[in-house]
Homo-oligomer: 319 residues x 2
Amino acid sequence: MNPARPSKEDIIQAHDRIRPFIHRTPVLTCETLDRHLSSHLFFKCENFQKAGAFKYRGATNSVQSLPPEQLKHGVATHSSGNHAQALAKAAGVKGIPAYVVMPSNSSKVKVEAVKNYGAEITFCVPTLQAREDTLKQVIAKTGATEVHPYDRLPTICGQATAAKELMEDIPGLDMIIAPVGGGGLLSGTALSAHYFSPATGVLAAEPAKAADAFESFTRKTFIPSVAPDTIADGLRTSLGNLTFPIILEHVSAIILVGEEEIIAAMRLVWERMKIIIETSSATAVAAVLKNMDMVRNKRVGIIVSGGNVDLDSLPWIIK
Amino acid sequence: MNPARPSKEDIIQAHDRIRPFIHRTPVLTCETLDRHLSSHLFFKCENFQKAGAFKYRGATNSVQSLPPEQLKHGVATHSSGNHAQALAKAAGVKGIPAYVVMPSNSSKVKVEAVKNYGAEITFCVPTLQAREDTLKQVIAKTGATEVHPYDRLPTICGQATAAKELMEDIPGLDMIIAPVGGGGLLSGTALSAHYFSPATGVLAAEPAKAADAFESFTRKTFIPSVAPDTIADGLRTSLGNLTFPIILEHVSAIILVGEEEIIAAMRLVWERMKIIIETSSATAVAAVLKNMDMVRNKRVGIIVSGGNVDLDSLPWIIK
């Protein structure tokens, strides 16, 4: 594996490696939206993926590709979101320990999910510094391998397989739109399009209230995410050292969407398509809805990144 | 067509007739539930059907099988629920008028949906008597053909095609469970199993708070639904003259479930399967969840009847 960038062969191998463990998720269409937009939308439903999000692909590839001497010490990460669940489950499937550092203010639902997958949780103060320090301590004690949620080659290779499957199932896509947070999904999607369907453009969707990827992309220099205040909790992170250069080279545009647009898109998909998608996924849908000219008469893939939602607190219901 | 009961050939013809107009909905599975129940559950996802429910099958069969001299005068019904939307859409596809009598307290969402499908709505006082009287007036004025939501042979034949598809896609089912309100879906399901897979038993699920079908079935005599007080708004109706005898002959049991069980099942499916199902569908899932012994090591089909939910008011959120 090239130290800085997965090759086509790396992604093919990752796909072969994880295929027995993941769902090949379905691709859905929606007549109503197609008619409304005069477009052909293809929704790659990673909300139906195991552990409820595309993250399971990267986590599984990371776990399944560890050498035996590292396997026995397990894997570790800090995460309050989908990556924690994905890594916990992937480790459970492999029968190795998973150590997850979670901020003390993580939602009960997420803590329970991670616990149920069999991971050992260490709580810490909810700051990035505390999370990183605590993770270091856990790793020093256990010898576990850190599996970063996005800035890691096996992670990127794993996430790349979602778009690979989409392009295999739906040939001739004009473009694919994926949400961008840390850039694991987006960089993987961009590489897959580059290798497997070069005529397919890759675009990203990002909340305007967490526009660090947009800023970094536009200024061609890394800008960290500072105090992102978006409902799309999966998209608050900064780009990584590995993901940013790939995105810079292979992504054609990053589209910003507002909070209300994200919520409206989420609700529209729930109502019309009868599937549960989370705010990160809705960000990609919102980018399509607000750019009708861009998608008119086009075949457009949308990566529905996940479906993990706190059903007790929906953004359109004021309690 | 036998005046009292659809034949095997009737159902096959209905399926051929509606196939170009309906979705062949997918059959989903859920590892978590299968593991929990030591069972194999197959969810026939009519929540993904056009207009959001199985009702579109019966409505389409009714509209598409009308003779030309009746077609031009259109179709009419009274309904505040999924049948109204289904008939409005089916008529719109055929290019004929649809007249829908709706009680004045119908939810805005449903009124809008029926309007958007192009139907002409007549509002009336929210009593069964007023609905029937108003419908008679509308029919006298327009010459439209009444399409009953369940007690009509073409309707039953149309609803029967959901189970037919399920058994074609998943051979060797031990049983199929469907919710029961007026009995259109249930009688159709029972006939399809009888004709196409006689070894497959058919069971029904009904809210304990609207137990008229259970009472009728047990006492073998028609008991009307009086003041049903269940959250499963699609299951409040009484059985019909046509549906009841079929159910009596071909259904093996009716399982009652409580309101809390319906809500818990609905939430469980949203959370684990990431699909939106309505309370009627959840009633069937609840019947499975509370009867683990019955489904253990069995292949069980569940008719997910629909997915039309008011997202502003979810049963587990107290505003």
